[in-house]
Symmetry: C2
Subunit: 190 residues, 2 copies
């Protein structure tokens, strides 16, 4: 049966794959789950999982509804003068949180991470193996510095968007960039 092109069952097949992926990531964690195992559970060929979603980390992003493409972050850092990378990262982050379609799943993820050790474990392994380690290699930076930068961005999200503590919640993007940009820059510049 041809699997390319629009056909009535395509949306259902994608949903089946994502449901299988959520099960597999929950059962085995990000590190233990495989494209092959996800495909088997969904009853499809592994090539179809690759066709629809790409690599394992892209399946993870889709399965957890992460509004976040790890490679975009590396591109943002590398695309432009390195001495202003901190500013670009903070602007990218604020932009993602401003859009309702990315903000809602981010919030859901923060809530799940805080309450579910299983989601925390999956996100941790994903961040470690698919995001931070790759960034550390691409940017030639110690991994500890990248986790520190991630901690500042995560804390900013908590204070500005979850706690909504003033005056951070109402600060303009420029004010936040002026304050947090140099900190991220410092982490990215040993």
């Amino acid at each position: 049966m041809a699997r390319t092109g629009r056909r009535p069952g395509q949306t259902q097949t994608k949903e089946d794959i994502l449901a299988a992926a959520r099960n597999q990531f929950a059962a085995r964690g990000y590190g233990g789950a495989t494209i092959r195992g996800i495909a088997a559970e969904a009853g499809v060929n592994p090539a179809l999982v690759h066709h629809y979603f790409g690599s394992k980390d892209q399946v993870f992003v889709a399965a957890l509804n992460l509004p976040f493409n790890p490679s975009a972050l590396v591109e943002t850092i590398l695309d432009g003068p390195r001495e202003r990378a901190g500013e670009r990262v903070v602007r990218l982050f604020l932009g993602l949180w401003r859009e309702p379609e990315t903000r809602a799943p981010f919030l859901a993820l923060l809530r799940s991470v805080a309450t579910s050790p299983e989601v925390a474990r999956q996100l941790r392994t994903f961040l470690e193996t698919a995001v931070l380690t790759k960034m550390a290699a691409a940017l030639d930076l110690p991994l500890l510095r990248l986790t520190a930068a991630a901690s500042q961005m995560l804390g900013l999200a908590m204070v500005r968007y979850v706690l909504s503590a003033e005056p951070m919640a109402s600060a303009t993007d420029d004010e936040v960039v002026d304050l947090i940009g140099p900190v991220i820059q410092g982490y990215l510049t040993p």
Copy 2:
């Protein structure tokens, strides 16, 4: 009836006051709750609430089981050379997270904040009115800088203790202080 000294009902009375406080903070938020209202609900004299717990923010700290005395933070910053205040704050924070009796309620609080808008609202108002505003006045710093410093400490807690992302989770206190101390110092030094 004399209310001072050890007596069989003292523990029960304290528990009644804390239960009333949790109700009042939940119903009215940190800003709206009063010592008078808490005392009325617990059926005791307001003076007894002051006697057992002190000020409204101390009742709040006790009611939410916060392992955290806001005034200790200001003292930590002021007690010693100002140019090493960032380092002292990070060391204080790491010490609080190392002790099981403070770590457990901190974790519980982070989980509640992420999932309960009501707890988030209470903690926000408490931080704004009882912690950050007082610190801003004592330290002569813009409030926005203090919320930024708070965001870094909160994010550090999330990455190191909730997500347990490596290598941050296993880094020594000295490594964390070397990396995060200067950031806090920067926020505290316009």
